[in-house]
């Protein structure tokens, strides 16, 4: 039960952050919320199903560009609508991509998903009439639950209503993923991770379930992407670049993929550590590359693995 207490405390702390008045750090929490949601999806694939995608950024970009399109091209500002359309777009993209990629495992799957991410990147980059090319597209301020908060300036909006909206979405996403992981599908996915051949022999349709996981992951990625686009107000093709996917995997590994909350911890540590390191040196990639190397070699179960070494995903 101490886990429940720790969670409640964390939630309370997150809710209180805006009240501390440090706007810079409050706005830094926003990409953390977004990445946390996206990473839940990635971990469903990796931690629970045993499949590593190097193209998750594709769906983050889908969500972000959906927000950009709806707000600046169509003038639709209801964030709830944006989310629904983003989810729909994710499903529409995930179905053909998933059907093709899921036929492969391990390295081939990683390479294929990387290729699809880059395909989307090149589409976003080259078709600048549609997408704004490398200049990107604007994302206008959305309305939350119908409210536009006209009296608030950008910072006020981001550190106030949008902050709590994002936090609420993270909480909802956590609940949904918790249910998925504890469901029959979740158990079947874990059996696929443990031993795909045996899973088949006890009646689990390995390919089909991997496909379901892929689509669900895509949805979470797109929701994260939509959330990610609002604070900066801008989306650009680099969101789909393969190194962005690589960073997502980095975050996941950092937090720990064998624990349900690893993704959230990974997103948090990555965002804040990156901020700190960037303020110290422009060579943050060198530092982060070294961190990733250390994690991969010495702490493959990430930070959660240090905290709770026996706690495996779903136990």
């Amino acid at each position: 039960m101490k886990h429940r207490a720790a969670l409640a405390l964390a939630l309370l702390a997150m809710a209180l952050v805006p009240l501390a008045g440090r706007d810079y750090y409050t706005t830094l929490m926003l990409p953390f919320f977004a990445y946390g949601i996206a990473l839940f999806g990635l971990n469903l694939l990796f931690g629970y199903t045993g499949v590593l995608s190097f193209g998750h950024a594709l769906f983050v970009a889908v969500g972000a560009y959906t927000a950009a399109y709806l707000t600046s091209a169509f003038g639709i500002l209801h964030f709830e609508v944006i989310l629904l359309v983003a989810i729909g777009a994710a499903v529409v993209v995930a179905i053909p991509v998933g059907l093709l990629c899921i036929r492969y495992v391990k390295i081939y799957f990683g390479m294929l998903t990387l290729a699809f991410g880059m395909l989307f990147y090149s589409f976003l980059y080259k078709f600048y009439h549609l997408t704004g090319g490398d200049e990107g597209m604007r994302v206008l301020r959305p309305t939350l639950l119908g409210q536009s908060f006209p009296t608030l300036d950008k910072v006020g909006f981001l550190t106030g209503p949008y902050y709590y909206y994002s936090l609420a979405l993270l909480v909802i996403a956590t609940f949904v993923m918790w249910r998925v992981v504890r469901s029959p599908l979740g158990l079947s996915l874990r059996s696929i991770r443990e031993n795909p051949d045996k899973a088949q022999y006890v009646g689990v349709s390995v390919r089909r379930y991997r496909f379901f996981a892929f689509v669900i992951a895509a949805v979470f990625g797109a929701v994260g992407g939509a959330l990610l686009s609002i604070p900066t107000g801008l989306v650009d093709p680099l969101l789909a670049y393969w190194t962005h996917s690589g960073n997502l995997v980095f975050m996941l590994l950092l937090g720990g993929f064998t624990n349900f909350f690893g993704p959230i911890l990974g997103a948090f540590v990555f965002i804040f550590l990156q901020d700190q390191v960037m303020s110290l040196t422009q060579y943050w990639r060198l530092v982060f590359g070294a961190i990733l190397a250390v994690v991969v070699i010495f702490f493959p179960h990430g930070l959660m693995g240090l905290v709770d070494p026996r706690r495996r995903a779903g136990t």
């Binding site: 190097f54 093709l100 492969y104 990683g110 390479m111 078709f127 990639r285 590359g289 990733l292």
Partner: protein
């Protein structure tokens, strides 16, 4: 008209030659060690930057200008010295899942990008000095093709043939092929895996750095050239089949020429055309055109 088309294709073959070198390095390392080395693009970038510096230093020290190509080749080969060092690092996780190995190479990609930035700065570097056209240009109707391109194509061909001979005829080459086919058996037969891995990785590294060195005469060296190249290299490897040298050759030709043609005809499609071929190949022949069964 025909000449213009041929010129475009030859440009594509030049790209293909470079791409082949880097992809061959990727294939070799994957075939033997089963590691997908995302950092091979970084080696390529390193070869490019170092190549420029080496040539500038050599020319400044009095080397006759026509020898710059030799300087490039030598500098590329010299950089292979980092191969054993990196291999040592990767050795720590050989027993782990492939995903982790790929992630470690991603860590290297990140680190290398900043290392390049630290040593050479953030701006692109150009070889300059008219070296690209030093060997002259062949007139081809209305178009002129630099002899340099042809030299590089010949060099890549020579390397391809040498590699083929090496793998087929020499003792070490046979060990490499045997290990790629069945590692446990090789080990059981007394092959020193550590040595094989170190050498193969070094060779793979050299191919990447030489590729970078050769391309930098005509293309500027930039910080993201490696990250961009890896995507093309992946396309080559998927089309040709993981682990196959012949596949690297054919795949590189397809990708190189296709990119050149689509830049000239439908620029929007450029990269997308390559990926559509990748997807088509995967749908029709999932293992690639020349894949070999890996044990």
């Amino acid at each position: 008209m025909i000449e213009a088309a041929l010129a475009i294709v030859l440009g594509g073959v030049f790209n293909a030659a470079i791409l082949f070198l880097v992809s061959a390095g990727l294939q070799l390392v994957f075939g033997v060690q089963k590691i997908v080395n995302l950092a091979c693009g970084s080696f390529y970038a390193l070869g490019a930057y170092f190549g420029i510096s080496a040539v500038q230093w050599a020319l400044g020290a009095g080397t006759p200008r026509p020898l710059f190509l030799a300087v490039l080749l030598l500098s590329g080969v010299a950089l292979a010295a980092i191969g054993p060092v990196i291999e040592r690092l990767l050795r720590t996780i050989y027993a782990r899942d492939e995903s982790f190995q790929m992630l470690l190479t991603f860590a290297l990609v990140l680190m290398f990008e900043d290392i390049l930035r630290i040593v050479w700065g953030p701006r692109t570097h150009v070889m300059g000095g008219g070296l690209y056209t030093l060997y002259g240009q062949l007139p081809f109707g209305a178009v002129k093709i630099p002899v340099y391109n042809l030299l590089v194509i010949l060099a890549a061909l020579a390397i391809a043939i040498l590699m083929g001979l090496f793998l087929a005829r020499t003792r070490f080459g046979r060990i490499v092929r045997a290990t790629a086919e069945n590692r446990e058996m090789s080990e059981a037969l007394g092959v020193d895996m550590a040595r094989v891995y170190a050498r193969v990785f070094t060779l793979g590294t050299a191919l990447g750095t030489v590729g970078g060195a050769l391309v930098v005469t005509s293309t500027a060296a930039s910080l993201d050239m490696g990250i961009e190249l890896i995507v093309d290299a992946f396309a080559v490897v998927v089309i040709g089949g993981l682990g196959s040298m012949r596949g690297a050759f054919v795949g590189a030709l397809i990708v190189g020429v296709l990119k050149a043609v689509s830049i000239a005809t439908y620029p929007e499609l450029e990269l997308m055309a390559v990926y559509m071929i990748v997807i088509a190949v995967l749908v029709l022949r999932p293992a690639g055109l020349f894949a070999r069964a890996t044990a």
